[in-house]
Each structure stands twice: as C-alpha cells, then as structure tokens.
Symmetry: D2
Subunit: 353 residues, 4 copies
C-alpha cells in the first residue's frame, strides 16, 4: 500500500539547489504532509550549503540514487527548463509524482510528453505556478468566478524589474510564465486566449530579448496585455482586470492594499430599439462608486503549493495547476516567440484548454 | 507695421469654449504678451458663461467677425479635430497666426495643407502640445540632450483613466497624441519612430477602441510602447525612458517627485576580442546607484505654451511644437489606426521629421 | 427690504489682496449668490493686479468707501489676524455681514467681542474654516455623526511642509487652526477638548516656534494630537480618526483615495462578571476587515464656504463655522501658547462649545 | 584558552522560543562565527516546534543545564523583559557573554546591575537593538556623523500599527525602545536627550496605554518626538531627521526608497550687525534642491547583530549597542512613564551617556 493512501507523510526529494530550491526545501520541511529526504544537485557542495550545518536531510549529486529510494514518493524539480523533460520523465518512469518548476518544459512537445506519461501512469504531474496560490490571485479568481467583476473586458499585467539577464532564455520565457499562469488560473470557463502577438527589443545587445510586450486576444473580444522587462530600475508587479461590473487592481508590492476592487466604470445601455449610432452614444454613462480593499490573510504561496501537491496526490485528482495548465502556458510562450520572430505577427494558439 | 514687431501685446481670439477653451482664456488673460479680445463659440451663451459676469472680453458666435478684426493678430483654436482644417485655414488666409489644439488636424493630409499654407504666408502655425511645456518634459528633454541618460533604449508610457468615451474619436486619437508629442519632443537628433503596430479592443461595445497598445520601432533598435485606456478606474500617467547610462521615470501624478533619475541598470561590456557567446554572457554587470529627484519649478505648462506662441511670432521662428511636430504626430496616429484595422500589422511611417 | 430677503445676489466686497484674497475673488465671481463689487487693499496696485486687466470689479484702498456703499451687504476679510478685530467690528457696525479668514481674531477676547457684536446686531459672522467644507471632512463628519466609527478613541493630525516662516505668528497659529477647526467640526455632540499641552522648538533661531506638537484631552478619555511643522521638506496633510468600530484615515494629498475607512481594530470584550486582570487580557481580540475608500465628489471647498455664507445670511441662522466655532479654536490656540511658554504644562480650556 | 581567542565558532544558546527566538535561531545557524548548541524554553515542546523535525540543535527546558555546558560561550536571551535581569545575571555569573532582547531590563536599576556585573567580569553585554543594524539606520548615522545633515534640528518618529496589545507592558515600553535606541545610535557626540514629556491614552480600556506621544528636549534646543500606537489600522514606520543643511526621511515600509535625503529647507542668515527683529525676518531664505535616495544594500539586520556580537566578544570591546546603550534607553523609558503618570510633566533624565 502506498503512503499516498495512508495519511503518513509523503517522502519527497528536491532536485536543484539553485535560486528556487532552498524555498522548496524550507516549505517541505515546514509541512506535515511531507518528509523531506534528499536535496539533489550536481554540485553537492552547493546542496550542502543550502541545507546548512544543522540539517538531518541528506545531500546528493546522484539522481538515480533518489529514484531508486523506495521511501521517495515524490520529487520536486527546480532546475533549468532545458533539463525538465529528462528529469521529470525519469521520475515518472520510476513511479514518482512530479512537481516541476515553471515553465513545465522547454518546449510544448516536451511538456505534452510529460503530461501524457503522467496520465498513462496515474501519477500526479503538477506545475509550480506559485503566484496562483497567493491570497491575491485566490481572491481574484473568486471575484471573477463569483461574478463580482462581471464579464472580463481587459487584463493588463506589468512585471518589470532590474532583473538578472538570464543566459539561456529571454525575458519572455523568464517572466511571462508568471502572468500567463495567473491568467490561466483566473479566466472563467469558456474564456481563453485565442491568439498572441509579441513585440520585443534587445537594446543592450544581450543576444536575447530584454523588453517584451504580449497582446492576447481572448474569446469574446476581450484583450490581455503583458509587459515584461529586465531593464527597469523600478520594480512593478501589477495586474488590472477590468470587468463589466467592477475592476480589480492587484499591486503585489503594496502589502497594505494588494487587491483593490473598484466599483466604477463606463456603462453602456443598449436597448432593443436602438435606432442609430448617435443614439447609442447618448447611452454611455459612468459609475463613480467606492473602492474596497478586501482583507487578505498573509501566507506564503509556496506552502499552499506544497499542500496542494500533497492533496492532489492523496485524492488522485489534478492539481489546481496541473501539467495541462503548464502546457497551456507553453502554448502561449511558443506562439509568442514565433510572433517575436515575425515582428509582431498575430499567431494563433492550439487551444489546449 | 505689425504689432509682432513692436513689442505691444498681440491681439488674440480664442475659438471654442468647450473643455480646453477656458484654460486658454485664463492663460491669455494672465500673459502680458497678449491682449485677449474675443472668445468665439457657435453656442455664444456657452462662451459668455466661460467669460463670467465680470469680464471685458467679448463673446461671439461669428468667426468671420474675428477674422475681419484688424486688432486680432493671432487665434487659438480649441474645437473638435474635424473642424481644425477649415478654421485654421481661414485664419491663415486672413493673415492670422494660428495655435491649434492637438491633434493638428483630423488627417495627415489636412495637417500638411495647414503646414504648407502657414509656410507660404510666413505665419506661425503652432500645435498646443501642452505636455511638452511641463517642467517634467523640459527636464526629460534636457537629460536626454545633455547625454545624462546615454542612448535611449526603451520608452514606456502609460496614460489610463476612467476618461470620457469620446463620440468622434477612439482612445488612440484622444490620448496617444499626448505621448506621441512628448516622444517627438524628447527624442534626440537622429532617433525617430520608423514603424508602428497597434492592438486595441472595444470590450464595452462603444463602437470604437477604448483600450489600445502602440509599439513603435525607433531608429537603432530602441522600442517605444504606449498604453492608453479609457476604462481604467485608476489614473496613471507615467513614462519611463531607459537609457544606456541612466533611466528616468516621470510620474505626473506624484507632485512631490515627478521626475526620478535612476543611476542603476544593466551594463554589457563588449571587448573586441569577444570570443564566443558564453563569454559575452559573463560580461553582463549591474549598476546599483542612487536615485535623484531633481527639483522642478512648478509652473502651469499652458502659460509656457502661450509665451512660446508669442516668442515664435515675434522672432519669426518655428515654435518648439510647430506644425511639423503636429504633422509627425498625425503620421503615427494614421499608421497606428491602419495597424489596428489590420490586427496589429506593423505599418511603416512617412518619416516626416 | 434687504436683498438677503429677496433672493437677489448679495453685494460683497473682499478685503485683502494677499495670499488668500484672490481665491475669495474667484469664488465670489463664480457664485450666483453674490455680486462682487470691490476688492480692497491698502496697496491698491496689488488689488488691481489680482483683478487683472479684464475685470469689471473695482479696486480701492479705502475701506470706509466700501462700508459706506449701500450695495455692499457683506464683506470677506482676508488680512493678517491682527487687523481682524478692527476691520470686522467696523463692518458689523456698518451693518454688513462678515466672513473672516482664520483665525477669527488675534486673541480670544477680540474674537468674543466680534461674536457678541454680531449677535447684538443680528448679523452673520462666519469664520472661513475652509477645510471644514472639503468633501473629505464632510464625509468624516458624516461617518462620525452616523455612528459608523463608533466612539472616537483618538485623533492624530499631521500638517507639515516646507512652509513660509511667518513674520507675525508662530507655526501653531499659522497651521494648527486648520486642524483645530476640523476637530471642532467633526467631534460629536458632547465630546470636546478639555485641556491642551504643547511642545515646540525653534531650531533655526527664527524667533518663533517652527515645529510644534499639541496634545488635547477630550471628554471621556480620548486623545487628539496635532503635529505642525514649517521645516519638513516633505508635505504631509493627514488625519486619522480612530473609533471603537472603525478607523478612518484622511490623506489630503492622495486625490485617488483621500478617505479610507478601515474595518479593523482591537476589540475588548468586558463582561459584567470580569474577575481579574488576567481574565480581561484574554478578551482582547482583533478584527481584520476590509478597507473602503468611499467615492467623493471633487469640489473646491471655498465655493461651498461662499454658498454657506449666502445661505446663513438668507436663513438668518448660524453658519456651519460661525463666530463661535472660530472662538473655540482661539480658546485652544491661546491655551496652547500658554502651554508652550510653560514648557508643556497642561492648560485647561474655557469650554466655549 | 577561550574559543573567543582562537577564531573557532563560539558556542551559543538561544533562550526563549517565542516571537523573536526563532529569528535568533535562524541567524545564529547562518553565521560562521557561532555554533548554535541549544534552544531553551520553559515550554520545551515549543522549542522543539521552532527547531522543526530536521534540526541537530537540542531543545531543553533546563537553563541550568545550558549554563553548566562548557561548550556554551554565549547566550542570547529573548524572553519577556521581567525575566531579563535574573537570566542575564545567572549567565554572566556562569562566565557567559550575554545578548539580550530590548529592553535591556524591566527597570533602570536592573539594567545598571547587569552593566556593572558584565564590566566586573570582563564579559560582553550587548543589547539586541536590531534597528540600529539596518542599512537605513547605518546610512542615517553616517549622514549625521559625516556632517551631511549639519546640526540636528528635529527628529520625528512614527511607529504605529494594529499591534498586539501586550499583557505586561504598555505601548511605550513595547514600541518606543526601537525609536529610542535608533535615536541613541544616530545622535552626534555631545547631543543627547535632556528631558522627556509623555502623553498617552487607553481609549479601549485595556488597562494600559495604547497610544503615546513622547517629546524629548535635546542638548542645544533640538526636539525629538515619538508617536507609538497599537490601534492604528495602517502601519507606519517613518523617521524624519531635520538638519541645518539637509533633512532625511526614512520610510521603512518603502523598500524601493527607504532613505531620502532632501537638499531643501529654510536658511536663516544671522550677520553680526543684526539690528532688530524686523531685519532678522528679512534674512529667512528657502533652498529648493534635489532629493537623493542613496542605494542601500538589502541585508537582514539581525545577521549584523549576530556578527557584531561575535566581533565584540573577540575584540573585547563594547558592542555598538552595548549594555550602556540599553541603559540610556531605560533611562528615557522610566522618565516617560513617570511623565505619563503626572499628565505630561517634563521629567529630567539621568544623562547616562
């Protein structure tokens, strides 16, 4: 009998001791649902430094060792995207559940292969779209799904910062997965991206795009726009979702007021007997209502990721951000890259939703 | 002998008593360079209301009357864009100098006709690109022209607000002229927009675009992006200009700190002997310097517009924002409209600069 | 029959063409309730400059001339505080209604004399406590009077700026009248200042206090505190009113969110059978509710002052900020000055309310 | 030979597993200067929970056990203030160095006893005034000591939040130690608090002061003011230090711009031949210069506390925030409490500096 069925903590190994790995280590250690057994990194000294001088967790450079360890039920992969396919595939083949850092894989094809393999084996494949588990995005999802916002009219997301220029990927693949996974997680049933156009620039000659703008056409005529930038000296992480009834602004760098719901906007009455355009113009009106900043409980999103991972494994159900969600994000990223190549041409999406 | 040559105040008439006209009235009255004689509006009662019960300025509905008045040296036109061509042309033909509200005209062809007519007659044709006269934009221009910013790498401008949905024009023609005229006024010699792509949406069914994104390719690979939006419940008016040496952020809604100059960014060393890509990647470095908010003198921009109008007339020189500047803005607006029609296709510019 | 009874515009004269006079001129001109006849200043050229070159209003240096003018029903005095007594008294004796700039007079005794004289003659004596007419303070008053805030627990007001160091008065008399008049206007029936302590400093050697802190003890144990400062390089104008049910923060420099109502705080259950202190400590709980920023209509406060002045004259009722309100403010100011002299000693108030 | 002389890591025990203890645990573990051996708490289960399921550090409820452990060179005490005296004294008597949470002790007398005992035994007694080790306060100290600010004119500190109403102490003893220790750490040689007045209120009936205002008279006529408040629904942590040359604003909740140096203010020329007051008034002038936000390196202050503790032990020198600094803070706290009792009376300080 697997531990997944008993309620005993799941044995877990973290793979990758770089930027994100230490956060996974900390959160798995703090969770009663898991027992962290290994931290694996090709550079075992780095893994040891992450664990520090007081830990009982073991460091290793040998991934095969982990896959062979029967106590390990699940792995969490936080390595460069190019390695996701092979590492995740090996883990699935060894019967382990897999949580993988965003993006799910380096290509849509690789991502689909993982999704299919996990499905075939009945294993959990989850994408660590951390932002989707923040109290702010949870509230956003709720406001949209409960109809508080009405129909989604536009989404505008800005994620800019003096970030580390990555060696292997451009700013689109580095930062936009956050916005795209959030978008994927909050859009209501029946509304999804249909096409994307992307514009970018590499003004510093870094050899890859450092500033990029994505425009997504959504089902029903709504528009979403994402601005990602590695060169901005000021940090902005803000998303506005405009709805037919209300508009919400999420400013992630304003802890005192992360989410603000505005009950104001433009209304357009459209009676049946609408005669002509001049008449229509008369029917525009403006609501000037209150703004409400709902109380949010502060909580580290990654601890919710970890608990959702455990819950999905135990319940044998797809995680909120399962492999398919990761695949939908890859779909947009690949189309956006193609659009960049073709100077902003509109590229249709596969519609994996 | 014309008053323009004597130093006596120039006789001026304001045409249009709508949204902007009252501001022109107030600023012409406060200027020693002008003597305001008339306020003209088809709705003469509206003109009288604007003047109030204590003014010695005369209201009229008869434009011909103004053009026939020899005391009138100059007019200032603040009527809907569609009327600019005829009103300005008539004034030029009557030998009057012309200040015209943005945009210069409803079409590039109309604008060119005005520019040519003014040139032929040796009259001043000036575009009221008010923002170009703010202390903030003046400082921006200075920082760029003095080389403090280095080469311009990217420009990102956001102008969003719960604005009045206009009847005759879309959000692009309503708001983007501000950003485009600022861009035109700050770009250094030799750097200009070469092509534009625009994406927009009308999610409320207003019959015209209420949200729009413009991407401009600039000479030398830099990128400029403009976000205009009538549906945002929060007001944002912010422009970032990223340079090779410094980056400046102009937040027009933060009077305590409108302009901030950041001495931080990404540097890329590129030695001659650069061997391979891996090597190049090693040469990226980050500057983490101070931010300085220069002291700006608060001044109403429109009073500077009015004084520049007088100065240009007296000196028989082009105004800072002359007809040609207005024409360059129209060039981008028309191209952007065409791009919108063709779903974001990149449209080249005439390059009127 | 007086115009006050007919509905015809009241003839009004503004006295003082300094800092505030021009604002009164503009607002009286914009009001249908008044006909502005005179602007009076000892420096008649200054008065003419304020009126500008296009006005039909007359400038004069002769106050007696105005008092003798039968068309003048009311005066508005915007001169230094030391002159208020004589100017206002003369106007009352000439049968004119009086609106006077804050503070009502230079001393409590002078103020009382004006209040009594106005009462004796049945004339309106109103104090231009402009802030009390802002949409924000109106909302504050409403929130308190409607019980939304519950009992008032504490009030904290900060009004600091790199202000003009005044020649005749200290920072207390320059800035605190604003906060004290606001306090006077929002406190509920039965709650009033009982005593005041003030601390101050003149670190630049200006010969008068440039930084001051006032602490007021209110009926029932609540506390109010006011910080005024001429030396701060940043401008802050913010007032927090803590209540038993909710707390409101008014930030006058944040036009997008001037008033914010917080539904969070500390609750203390106090059952009858409360046994001991340890027990009491267990009953502290915390509410963590939403914040709401109510929609406020933007409006110039001084136009509401002007309309209230007309309404009070016509209805022969005390204005919202009548002479007695001005007197209560003087009461605190004099007590605070005495406290400053005695190094922060607590000084009781007359309780003129 | 003591480890203090060899460079080997110092053996350390943390006492108290409540609010602050876990932070000490984390920082001692991350430091190469220490080897964390014990976490002690009367509630040993709580200590174990803090250590988590992966730690090799031992938990104990037996303080005597720690004092008897020869491997332990130093302790860090993070227990309620009332216990500081006995715990610290016992440690000193056992020959251990002591780092103690603020405030140093519950009374000035207790604090002095500890200072004297440590001096007698040649042991390090350090107070964990964490804020003094932040990059912001370090910069503040530097700006003052390097003369960039000129003479200190005024200090205004606000520390308000919906905080936990403490059971054993009032808001003064809970929050003001932060501001007082910062003050102590940044004031230049020869400038110190001479007297204090305090006003407070307990509007919720908590049995102790929940809102308090302290005014300190400093050597030479400068003023310092501290506002602490448990009832504010918004969090403010801001300190302004006004100087004769420049003024600095430290806003701890604005990570993008924690410290801002304003080169503007009021100047007062005071020539020898200054004849009369009227003349003096003419010599006030205003500087309107730039604002600069210096780049600060983000660093956890507590890690610097830990390293300073090690450095002071090794070098046998007083720590930056040694016992005497803690004593000076207690001096003000006791005087402020006395002032509160006597309704704001000014209370002189011992001048322990």
């Amino acid at each position: 009998m697997k531990k997944a069925d008993t309620g005993a903590p799941l044995g877990v190994a973290v793979v990758g001791a770089g930027y994100w790995g230490p956060n996974l280590v900390r959160n798995f250690q703090a969770s009663a649902s898991f027992r962290l057994l290994w931290l694996c990194d090709l550079d075992v000294a780095r893994a040891q430094r992450v664990l520090g001088g007081y830990s009982t967790v073991e460091a290793t450079a040998d991934y095969a060792h982990i896959l062979a360890d029967d106590r390990v039920d699940a792995v969490a992969i936080a390595t460069p995207a190019a390695t996701h396919r092979d590492l995740a595939l090996a883990a699935l083949e060894a019967g382990k559940h897999v949580l993988v850092e965003k993006p799910l894989a380096a290509t849509y094809a690789d991502g689909r292969l993982l999704v299919e393999e996990a499905a075939r084996r009945g294993l959990t494949l989850m994408c660590d779209h951390t932002y989707c588990y923040t109290p702010a995005v949870t509230k956003l999802r709720e406001l949209i799904h409960d109809g508080v916002l009405g129909d989604v009219h536009f989404i505008d997301s800005v994620r800019i910062n003096l970030g580390l220029v990555q060696r292997d990927i451009d700013v689109l693949w580095d930062l936009a997965p956050h916005d795209l996974s959030i978008l994927d997680s909050i859009l209501p049933e029946g509304v999804e991206p249909e096409a994307v156009a992307a514009h970018g620039a590499d003004p510093i000659g870094a050899g890859r795009c450092c500033v990029a703008y994505l425009t997504l056409r959504l089902t029903g005529g709504a528009i979403a726009h994402i601005h990602v930038n590695w060169l901005s000296p000021t940090k902005v992480r803000s998303t506005m979702v405009g709805g037919s009834k209300r508009t919400v602004v999420w400013d992630d760098l304003n802890p005192a007021q992360r989410v603000a719901v505005f009950d104001r906007g433009v209304d357009l009455a459209a009676p049946e007997e609408l005669a002509d355009q001049a008449r229509q113009q008369m029917l525009i009106s403006y609501r000037s209502g209150d703004m409400t900043a709902p109380a949010l409980t502060e909580r580290e999103a990654l601890s919710a990721v970890v608990e959702e991972y455990a819950a999905a494994i135990h319940a044998r159900r797809p995680a909120l951000t399962d492999g398919r969600a990761g695949l939908r994000v890859l779909d947009v990223l690949e189309a956006a890259s193609r659009s960049l190549e073709f100077h902003g041409a509109v590229v249709g999406l596969r519609g994996a939703r």
